[in-house]
Amino acid sequence: MMKQKNVNKRHLRNDILLIIVLLLVAATGAAYLFLFRGFGDVVKVTVDGELYGVYSLSQDRTEDISTGEDGRQLNRLVIREGKAFIQTATCPDGICAAHRAIFRNGESIVCLPHGVVVTVTTAQTQGEPDVVV
């Protein structure tokens, strides 16, 4: 009985340690993302890993990202007041459309069903002016 109690105590201590470590890892990641990356100036759109287009965040615009074999899968990307978000999408879950607007460097909106990834980045890291649409 005494032995079982000690085992339970040890388990509880390990549980708490595990949870603290996980939350610390998350906090470190969050601090890195928010403090050290700053703001981006362009959004890069990729479809299934291939570049679809790069759009400046400083210019308001609406862009329909069409994917799928017949191009009927749509995600409407809206850039307004320096932030980017998906306004509407034809994907079944609509998670991308529910996602809040992004503007910090490295932030992204992902539409898993359509394979669309919208990521905020800086123009310098994108380099080539010929890919800026």
Partner: protein, 171 residues
Amino acid sequence: MRNKSKTTAFMGLFTALALILAYVEVLLPPLFASLPGIKMGLPNIILVFLLYRRSACSAIVVSLLRIALVTMLFGNVMALLYSLAGGILSLVVMILLRRWNVLSTVGVSVAGGVAHNVGQILMAMLLLETAELGFYLVVLTVAGTLAGVFVGLCGSALIRKIPANFLFLDK
């Protein structure tokens, strides 16, 4: 278990339970409106229970059956890949931790919850060929931890309340 038909009935019962919990989870409103796609992982309660009360093998069978059935009922092939990545990684982690006996049910389920999310993110990185999903990993680590605590508490309550000889679980 030597009795084959009893095993079949057991697996059917627990698979049905896991399936129902997965369905209930779809019906529940999202926990955080601004962070869609985050789920409690209620079916994991069944897996934790099986892991402690029966065997790792039964948990694997129920988990795979549930993923297959949920995909057939509500999902598509893409969803299947994500479910499998999360489900398998989560189960492997939980089985190993259970075997090492260093954590309680809560700790095991926290590790399982986080592993589930990590598995899905890894699959997303693979399929979308992008490594820029770090933000999601941060959010999902916290979400997985909280969900894991809840699931672990439910699981340990079940394990405590349901006697070892219930439905001949010990045989």
